[in-house]
Amino acid sequence: MPPSAQQGARQWLRALASGNRFLVVSTVGAGLVAALATIAQMGILAHLVHQGVIARQPVSTLSPWFGGLVGAIALRALAQGIQAQLAAHSSHAIRARVRRQLLTAWHHQGPIKLKASSAAELASEWLDQVDALHGYFARFLPQMWLSLLVPLLVLLVVASLDWLAALFLLLSAPLIPVFMALVGMGAEQVNQRHFETLGRLAGQFLDKVRGLTTLNLFGGIPVATEALRTQSDAYRRITMKTLKIAFLSSAVLEFFSSVAIAIVAMYVGFGLLGYIRIGPSENLTLFSGLYVLLLAPEFFQPLRLLSQHYHDRAAALGAAQLLGNRTGSAQAVSPPATQSSTSTLDAAVNVLVLDRVSVGFATRPAVLTDVSMGIRRGESVALTGPSGSGKSTLLHLMAGFLPPDSGRVSGVNQQPFGWLGQSPFVVQGTWAENLRLVAPQANDATLFDALARVGLAPLVKARSAGIHSPVTESGGGLSGGQARRLSLARIFLGDFDLVLLDEPTAGLDAGSESVVITALQELHAAGKTLVFSTHHPQLLALADRVIDVREGQLHHA
């Protein structure tokens, strides 16, 4: 990831966290309470040992202290539980917010820009990428604050007991940023390596699964199986070389934490024996000595946890870059230009007005240059012209899916209209579910009626559950013609005044073609406004007006 991209991703994550500050801060707060309770627990424990072992107090007189000990432990557990609860809610809230932003972004970008990414990619953005933020907000971010604050707290308590012991811990403190960098680098490397390997192995594996039929047909299964084994083994060797080095960084952290405990134990032990006669060691008691010993691991614990959660950060940064781009670019897009027209084309008569509109894709000469037209209510307009001349672009402009580079489009976005694109849209589900996409409230009879109008009634009747049977049965899908007719049924169902259709008869068999033509004739007769791109003579005959789109201009044919 280039540094600038990573910075952008970090900023985006920070903005999310600050938008949800209360829960993030509360999570850290609960973690701090747990740490304080732990510090108290260790103190009481050391005190009890001192009283029992050195002062020889009978256990029965110590029960208030035992009560305090249990109380501290209970508080610690309570705070821990609350921390987990807050962390889960915080992450949940943040992800819900990101998903709302995503939906807005998708909506603003419109169907055309969205097409730049595959549907599977977008679904992965929606699900996997947003969920990749979970570990960061639930674990890494609170732990990052705790790994700064808790060691500080521990150090203060240790210093009040024995400044020399605190000095031992403090000596390692300047090293802590170094640790963190080491851990970070190591973890990142491990993470990257691991995911790279997994990715490559998965790639090799999927490559073979995808071609399973071919492998089977050509007797390649044994060879492929062996290759799978040897490739995995080769990757394992390479990865292990890196991992051996990467794991060293966390071993260093482990080493310092172990050595700190050992040094504190030796120092306290020799101090108590009276072998050390400098500084505060003469005043050491079993209480203070044991307390310091018990706190030493707590000094390092937050850092060790942080290193465990480090991969969450890497995953979140990757996702943040992607999601930040998506949600950021949506804000840059100007709102669709649907202001009321001031042109000579009268908006009162026209359902749709294009006023001196130009559109060009950066790499090509302009697709449409300074184009003006009006569509009157109840009119049927055919767009024709060579492929790539801009017919689809014109329809997208009219639909408001594409903002013009200059000029105005008015009329759309004010009320629902019908759209029939080139790729049929069928969801996994029943016929009824597919139809209700555009008319959630429609009753069964209306749905069946719409299907009958596009000649799908016999097909649906033949199914056991009628309109409540699945559109795609196991293995068999809808043919292109059937899918187009299903889309057309939605248009009948929606009863839209304006219908835009992009090549409604392209690639259809004769039967479906005649159904589509009849349907358009019916719509036209019913007084609907139709705009469609076509080359089909029967559709051209149906149109009140035929417009030839050629070299960025409109010609009335």
């Binding site: 949940h92 490559d207 399973l212 492929a224 083994d233 292990m240 032990g269 555009v438 033949a462 049965e473």
Partner: protein, 552 residues
């Protein structure tokens, strides 16, 4: 839980590695516990000796043995952890290969169902993520549970031996409770949610894909906002389920911590009572509580793993389903008859064969067809007329629901170029010969010349050993098709089926190579299927397929 058994038994084949890895985890855990406990004992012992010395009582303490022990544990904890991580990651990577090979073999046996229904990118992605959940099964779940059980059992037994019975009982109960809460208790409280999550994840993905694809229509119809909020709600529930699992995991972990620390309190109280009665020395009483304080590390990773177990099981169930051999009627296909005794040189005979998908109208047939050895048959049909279905039936990939297929060809004696071009991320040579036969360069070049690829391959730096695919040379659609065609020609099969052999190949090239291909195949039986006559090879006989019906 039985869903995991096939995978656990696969993992357990590496028994020795697992044992060593587990022992390393145990060794590290013991070093960590020992470091703290021994340090505690040492401090208490020196405190008492120091006190005696200060009071003028002659007293001595061997400081070298415990000092050495502390140093040993400090080092062994570090080295143990490092060795454990390296060794166990190596194991994970080995298991990764095992599970993939197992799944691959499973998919091969389950082929008909899987191949027709589930080849999409989404299915493949899901397959990978399901597999990932299983790779770490041992390291995340099995080994830490075993280590926790061993250490808890040992400590409880020692407590029973050393501490007053009542306190030992409290301690053991606390440890048992903590262990159950962190493992099975959490599993039972999250398995349904975690399992449901895995399923609803698939549903959300499908819904998201649908809405994105239908974005234009839905926006136009003014129902986008409605559907967007539905998607948001669906995903919100999914995310809430995860939050619930997380919260339960967190609380179980917290209560487990409470209980292990409670065990430490019981050990301390019991120990101090025994010090009071003079049964044990003060420093010894410190050992148990400090050991138990270190239990956070022993139990720490368990709740996370058991909170996800429900999902892991659901993933395993799906993989088992994908690998399962399809149930249903045995294919209505007779075992192949010997080509030598076949009547009048018959090679492949279809009798009243038809294929249906679900309830929909027949995708093919009913159709009867007799193919004699050495015949070249052309089949023409528009898209959707059942061409590829016919090719699949002829190749034996799908069994017909009705009718009969009689073969006088051995299954391995048939080469089939499927409609979809399949090339692998591998060298050109390995793409041409998939079954590991060793063919001379001369043979390969001859066939490459036949499909007009000589010049193209000659420009690649490594010639026949050039790498194809994502990390190598990218071929155009027509070039890739011709590589697949060359692969088919390179088999020695006596029956060759070509489904749309020239997809993506331009007219000029097609015209150049078509006749030479037919000649190369002159001695073999050939079925070639295409959408129109131009896309065929020259054949002896031609049939037209029309909308699930056959007209000769």
């Amino acid at each position: 839980m039985h869903e995991l058994f096939p995978w656990l038994s696969l993992i357990l084949q590496r028994r020795q590695r697992l044992l060593v890895g587990g022992l390393l985890i145990l060794f590290t855990a013991i070093s960590g516990l020992g470091l703290l406990a021994l340090s505690g004992w040492f401090i208490s012992a020196t405190a008492m000796t120091g006190l005696l010395l200060a009071a003028g009582v002659p007293s001595s303490l061997n400081i070298y043995t415990p000092g050495g022990g502390i140093r040993f544990f400090a080092i062994s904890r570090t080295l143990g952890r490092y060795a454990e991580r390296v060794y166990n990651h190596d194991t994970i990577l080995r298991l990764l290969a095992d599970t993939r090979v197992r799944l691959f073999q499973g998919l091969v046996t389950a082929k008909p169902d899987v191949q027709t229904g589930r080849t999409g990118a989404q299915w493949l992605t899901r397959l990978t993520s399901d597999l990932d959940a299983l790779d770490t099964l041992y390291i995340r779940l099995v080994a830490p549970s075993a280590v926790a059980l061993i250490i808890s059992g040992t400590v409880a037994a020692l407590a029973g031996w050393l501490l007053p019975p009542a306190y030992a009982a409290i301690l053991a109960a606390c440890l048992l409770g903590a262990l159950l809460l962190a493992t099975l208790g959490l599993f039972y409280r999250t398995r349904r949610l975690a399992g449901a999550r895995v399923l609803s994840e698939e549903r959300i993905r499908v819904t998201a894909v649908a809405y994105v694809e239908g974005n234009a229509e839905l926006t136009a119809a003014g129902t986008w906002d409605f559907h967007a909020s539905q998607l948001q709600n669906l995903t919100g529930n999914f995310s809430r389920q995860q939050a619930i699992v997380d919260v339960r995991t967190g609380w179980h972990q917290a209560v487990a911590t409470l209980l292990t620390n409670g065990a430490a309190v019981a050990a301390l109280a019991g120990g101090l009572l025994m010090v009071e009665s003079g049964a044990i020395s003060g420093p010894v009483s410190v050992i148990f509580p400090l050991l138990l304080l270190g239990f956070g590390e022993v139990y720490g990773a368990l709740p996370e793993a058991f909170g996800r177990l429900g999902g892991t099981i659901a993933a395993a169930a799906r993989l088992n389903r994908d690998c399962a051999a399809p149930v249903g009627a045995a294919p209505a296909e007779e075992p192949f008859a010997d080509a030598n005794v076949s009547p009048a040189g018959a090679c492949l005979t279809l009798t009243e064969v038809s294929v249906h998908y679900g309830e929909s109208a027949a995708a093919l047939g009913p159709l009867s067809l007799a193919l004699t050895a050495g015949q070249h048959l052309g089949v023409i049909g528009a898209s959707g007329s059942g061409k590829s279905t016919l090719a699949n039936v002829l190749a034996g990939l799908i069994p017909p629901q009705h009718g009969r297929v009689t073969r006088h060809v051995a299954p391995g004696d048939l080469a089939y170029l499927t409609q979809r071009t399949v090339l692998f991320n591998d060298t050109l040579r390995n793409n041409l010969v998939l079954d590991g036969r060793v063919l001379s360069d001369q043979q390969l070049w001859r066939i490459l010349a036949l499909v007009d690829l000589t010049e193209r391959v000659a420009t690649m730096p490594d010639g026949l050993d050039s790498w194809l695919g994502a990390h190598g040379h990218s071929l155009s659609g027509g070039e890739a098709r011709r590589v697949a065609l060359a692969r088919t020609l390179l088999t020695e099969a006596s029956v060759v089926i070509l489904d749309e052999p020239f997809t993506g190949v331009d007219h000029a090239t097609r015209a150049r190579i078509s006749a030479a291909l037919a000649e190369e195949l002159a001695t073999r039986t050939l079925v070639v299927l295409a959408h129109d006559r131009d896309a065929l090879l020259p054949t002896d006989r031609l049939i037209h397929l029309q909308q699930a019906r056959c007209a000769v």
